[in-house]
Amino acid sequence: MKIDRLKMGSVGVIAPHGAITQAESDELAAAIETSRQPAAGRVVLDMSDVPFADSRGLETLLDFADRQRSAGQTAKLAGLSETCREIMDLTELLGDFEVFDSVDSAVRSFL
């Protein structure tokens, strides 16, 4: 799985490309953790190129939300596809995240 890591000011942006499934979950979790630490939890997950996430993928996202909560931050997702949004809605996980239309607006929310 290709995962881009960007820095927008003091905010880290992680952009996975492709579905988040069992095979990719560990890699994504590691990328999130790597970006979280230097940015002091100021991290945005850019989901605009994620077509879907399976159960393991959703667990990874939930784990991200838990870690952010522990650090006094909220987990921010940007550019959720309709498929991802619907499954997160169906499984009642959307409430654990702040969801933004674009990375820019998610990054601006830290200001």
């Binding site: 095979a23 077509p51 399976d54 498929t83 499984t91």
Partner: protein
């Protein structure tokens, strides 16, 4: 005998003896826009009928209709840069006719010209002095567009955004109003609503000045639009089970075949859930037909409302529904199935409440006590089968676009196998008195598949 001619109309008015029309003809006047308009209607109707007869397939008629209308606008009026929209989200947004599924809806700004035309229902023609100051102001803002700094009034930005920057401002715009063209204008009154919007960006000045012709053309387009809309409604009714509002078995299978094939091509997981309402058949024997109908109706309603846009829901038999869900592995499938059991159970409780009220209001029927007893015997049983065998090592190989799939690459489950697995699992759930059973994937998948192992455990 020589043909009889009127003073000015020389084309069709011949005497009856010559085989002509007996009806008296009105002489055509140069300024008779009505005559011109009727001529256009005939021509346009013929074009529409020819297109309609050529049109093939059971898919959505809208993209083809979009193409047809834009060609018609160009041929008849010389209108260019036409955009046709469906009004969606309760009038809050627009979606291009040409792209039913792909393009995201565009939200309408409340102060935009497009929104004004759509909500008021009045047609806009650039240069028409009768619009009034509000429309003139909105149109002026829209025509200005954003300045080089990117600043502009919200209305201008909204209209330009909707039409795309390169399209320029609209010169002619009219809404498609429900019922208006069907002769119900005077009956329906203010309850009309806009279901579509036609926006033209380029039209000859002479044509823009011919308001009667544009009005006539808009009327005809509205007729065509409503015809296509009614046809689409009939298509939906034909595909739909009357009792529950979900797909009937034949169309569920037809659409599920396509969905499963798509999922395989993309290497994506797909899950099939069979929901059985155990005890429903006894309602017939006991004479609880009303309750039975309400339970079916509520179950269909709950499934349609709660599930995702892309999930396929069908009624497979009297007491059995099937749901095909993409992008769900077994674990996620189990979670969703558990929720569906809860939702359907709540739906049944609601059905019992409604049937109880109807029952009480009818003095000729029995009292409500046995009704709740009958409903108490109704159980929701689910069977789940998943096609999720593509593991990490196979993904790249499987997704390779070159050449046919090898046996190793082919997934083993077909829709038929998924159905068989889910239905037999729901039967097993009934036998064991469980809410949910998983299909024994060993039969379909073979050994070594992690999900199959999980299913067996």
């Amino acid at each position: 005998m020589k043909p009889f001619r009127t003073d000015s109309n020389d084309r069709t008015d011949v005497s009856p003896e010559a085989g002509g029309n007996r009806l008296p003809r009105h002489p055509r006047r140069a300024d008779d826009s009505g005559t011109e308009r009727r001529f256009d209607v005939n021509r346009l109707s013929t074009s529409f009928l020819q297109w309609w007869n050529r049109r093939g397939g059971d898919g959505s008629p809208w993209p083809a209709f979009d193409q047809f209308l834009r060609e018609l606008l160009l041929d008849v009026l010389g209108a260019k840069r036409a955009r046709l929209f469906h009004v969606v989200e309760g009038g809050q947004a627009l979606r291009l006719l040409a792209d039913e599924a792909g393009t995201p809806n565009t939200l309408l700004a409340p102060t935009s010209l497009m929104n004004h035309v759509m909500s008021v229902g009045r047609r806009y023609i650039r240069g028409d002095t009768s619009h009034g100051p509000l429309v003139d102001e909105l149109a002026t803002e829209s025509e200005k567009g954003p300045n080089p700094g990117g600043q502009a009034a919200p209305a201008a930005l909204a209209d330009r955004h909707t039409l795309a920057q390169a399209e320029g401002p609209a010169v002619w715009m009219f809404p498609i109003r429900d019922h208006e063209a069907g002769g119900l204008k005077n009956i329906e009154g203010p309850s009309h609503r806009s279901i579509g919007l036609v926006v033209v960006g380029d039209l000859d000045e002479a044509m823009l000045a011919d308001h009667a012709k544009l009005e006539g053309f808009a009327d005809v387009i509205t007729e065509f639009w409503l015809h296509v809309r009614d046809y689409e409604c009939l298509q939906i009714v034909r595909r739909t089970d009357r009792g529950s509002g979900v797909l009937n078995r034949l169309d569920f299978i037809r659409m599920a075949e396509i969905t499963v094939a798509d999922a395989r091509r993309e290497g994506e997981p797909v899950a099939l859930l069979a929901v059985t309402l155990e005890g429903l058949r006894r309602f017939d024997d006991d004479g609880w037909w009303l309750l039975r109908d309400r339970v079916i109706e509520q179950t269909g309603r709950v499934l349609r409302r709660k599930l995702r846009t892309n999930d396929l829901v069908g009624r497979f038999s009297d007491d059995r529904f099937v749901i095909l869900m993409r992008w769900l592995d077994l674990s996620l499938g189990k979670l969703i199935a558990a929720r569906i059991v809860t939702w359907v159970t709540e739906g049944i409780a609601e059905a019992v409440r409604i049937a109880g009220q109807e029952n009480r209001s009818n003095p000729n029927t029995e009292n409500a006590a046995p009704l709740s007893k009958a409903a108490g015997n109704l159980k929701v049983r689910c069977g789940l089968a998943c096609d999720y065998r593509i593991d990490t090592a196979q993904v790249d190989e499987y997704l390779s676009p070159n050449g046919p799939l090898t046996d190793k690459q082919k997934p083993l489950l077909s829709l038929r196998e998924l159905l068989r697995g889910a239905l037999s699992a729901s039967a097993e759930a009934r036998r064991k008195g469980l809410d949910l059973c998983l299909a024994d994937m060993r039969i379909a998948c073979g050994a070594g598949i992690s999900d199959a192992v999980e299913a067996m455990s």
